[in-house]
Symmetry: C2
């Protein structure tokens, strides 16, 4: 297949980790006879510096002609005191809205080799394998806002249509996972949550193979800590999803490993590591590229339908970690740590090794 | 001092644990020469059953003539399918709003004897001693709501005045604790959060002895797990506070122990355990009364200014736990567990012992 990928390295360690992911994607293209064309664009602080906008028209155009977008990270102290419209993270909000990327998928899966880094007791964290499906273009984020001298307003608004499409997304994902959806709301307080719950109840008839439960957001925030392995797919509105997905991201101790996808229904999507721009380690070549590489794997799966290729990357990352290869963030006391490039090359070697063993098996 | 305490036992284990707390309060009155008068009222499911309202006028009147309110818990499967206006938890929302109880204080402190029950690694949970100060009568909870066939709205609105009084409360509390306030908002997205941050910045000049930091709600949800002992006082708006205080309540493994206070500036307040109504164990006499007893201690401190008496209760609870006395929820495998009444009597014995040793010291 031929695909065009827009790469938006962004700020801090963004360029380093996207470079690693691109290297892996190039290998995949070679091994599996695809043609990936890469175009590059600016976003976040880098775009503010060069073009006075966190999401410039040039970038929107480059992404618009691509099949998917790979993003590094945005933000850094340099822009922290900028006025609100010239903040790097405005670039993220803008690109989501511009392309209607309403579904944010955030998988969290325990990596056995990394459990000692979990803040939770290892037996609690061990079985975690969940996916948060966060609505990304509605709710408080994009509702009407106003400010007077003495008051400030935000509006939490959802339409049946907006809820339907994200809930369907969650059901579809549950179907190819463990068949369970936890819908999170605050139906005992919010009108928007009562509509949310109504829509989930309506939709569920079409998915008899999926179990559905409703959970209040406060109770979900507890259960993510006390019983995280009870969750399969968690679906929720934008602001609850922001909070719960970040909470979930730290339970297994592998935040530096977590990818994300922001998609719509036609296959176009934006893929980015969950970790931030790491300004303190930027430019040193020591950042952990795993989350960016795994984000590239999600791109292969969700935007290009290349399940085999995606799984190959995920397996290679897993094996490399099990072999004890670590970047500085994950190195055990006294253990040697690899640079971003060295670690990426381990993954590439591993992918090559996997491919060779497949060649042998199927030849 | 003479004080009137309105007791609202509520549903499930509510009556059992409030009875325990009242017993302790009666002992305190005797030992410290106070006169506590108790009046009783219905709330939640019990009030719906008897008076067709989760917060009947009779109850409002009884509380209105009291100096403070002690509440058990509300809710249970019996009322789960009631229409929204006849749900037990509406009673909670109504009593908060009726009395203007804008400040919800939720302390979370690690109990060394209980750390093995924490989902976190013990060394993470060990140093936790934080207080969440949640705004309780504004925001999404009480903003305008609307519903059409296809849309639903909630409004997140805050006035400068509403923010000021809760932020002041947090600063005052920090002053008598470790001198640090973490103000939590989502200022990169919400207009109401930008006003919130502005007010915090204005107020801080009056508290040069207090350190202030701003944290985004998503980042706070992570840090409560990865570094919970970094927090002293956390202040935030109603919905964020609902989520974060429940999240914080499970990190030390002692949810069954946690008290809460909902207060205003004149000393009147509502005190209740954080745990729910425990319908599965209700009526068996085995509920853990510690949270209700510690809520009574908060009442002595915040509504009656009886710091010595409050500290005596807290110390007695601590000692009883260290001595290995446990209700069923906390009993170790194979360990004997005490009934609600037996455990309460241990606390009372301990209070008596403390008092005797004081008598000896000061006589
Ligand atoms: C940067 C910020 C606006 C953004 C959000 O809240 O959506 C971020 O926290 C995220 O989750 O991607
Ligand atoms: C029962 C519910 C309305 C309530 C709230 O959300 O405030 C509860 O969760 C709490 O925190 O006291």
């Amino acid at each position: 297949m031929e695909k065009t990928i827009a790469v938006l390295p962004g700020d801090g360690i963004g360029p380093e980790v996207t470079r690693a992911a691109v290297k892996v994607l190039k290998l995949i293209a070679r091994r599996y006879q695809h043609e990936f064309n890469f175009s590059y664009g600016l976003i976040g602080g880098a775009a503010i510096d060069a073009l006075d906008s966190p999401f410039p028209k040039e970038t929107a155009d480059a992404c618009g002609t691509a099949d998917a977008v790979l993003l590094g990270a945005v933000g850094g102290p340099k822009w922290d005191n900028n006025p609100s419209e010239l903040r790097p993270e405005k670039g993220l909000l803008a690109i989501r809205k511009h392309f209607g990327l309403f579904a944010n998928l955030r998988p969290v899966k325990a990596v056995p080799a990394l459990l000692s880094a979990s803040p939770l007791k290892e037996e609690k964290a061990a079985g975690v394998d969940l996916m948060i499906v966060r609505e990304l273009t509605g709710g408080l984020y994009f509702g009407e806002k106003a400010r007077t001298a003495d008051d400030a307003y935000d509006t939490l608004v959802y339409s049946r249509e907006e809820i339907s499409r994200i809930v369907e997304q969650a059901f579809e994902l549950a179907r190819v996972r463990r068949g369970k959806v936890t819908s999170v709301d605050k139906a005992n307080v919010l009108e928007s949550s009562r509509l949310w719950r109504e829509v989930v109840e309506e939709k569920k008839a079409a998915y008899p193979d999926v179990t559905v439960e409703h959970q209040l957001v406060d109770s979900c925030a507890m259960k993510l800590i006390t019983d995280p392995s009870a969750f399969d797919v968690v679906v929720t509105e934008n602001m609850f999803g922001d909070i719960l997905s970040d909470e979930a991201s730290v339970i297994t101790g592998s935040l530096g490993m977590l990818p994300s996808a922001s998609i719509r229904t036609d296959g176009f999507g934006l893929y980015e590591p969950v970790h931030g721009s790491g300004p303190d380690i930027a430019g040193k070549g020591i950042a952990n590229p795993a989350a960016a590489i795994l984000s590239a794997a999600m791109m292969l799966r969700y935007s290009f339908g290349m399940e085999t290729e995606a799984a190959a990357i995920e397996e290679a990352v897993q094996t490399v970690l099990e072999d004890g290869c670590r970047t500085a963030d994950l190195a055990e006391a006294g253990g040697r740590s690899l640079t971003t490039e060295e670690w990426t090359d381990k993954v590439i070697e591993q992918l090559d090794a996997e491919a060779v063993s497949e060649d042998i098996m199927f030849s």
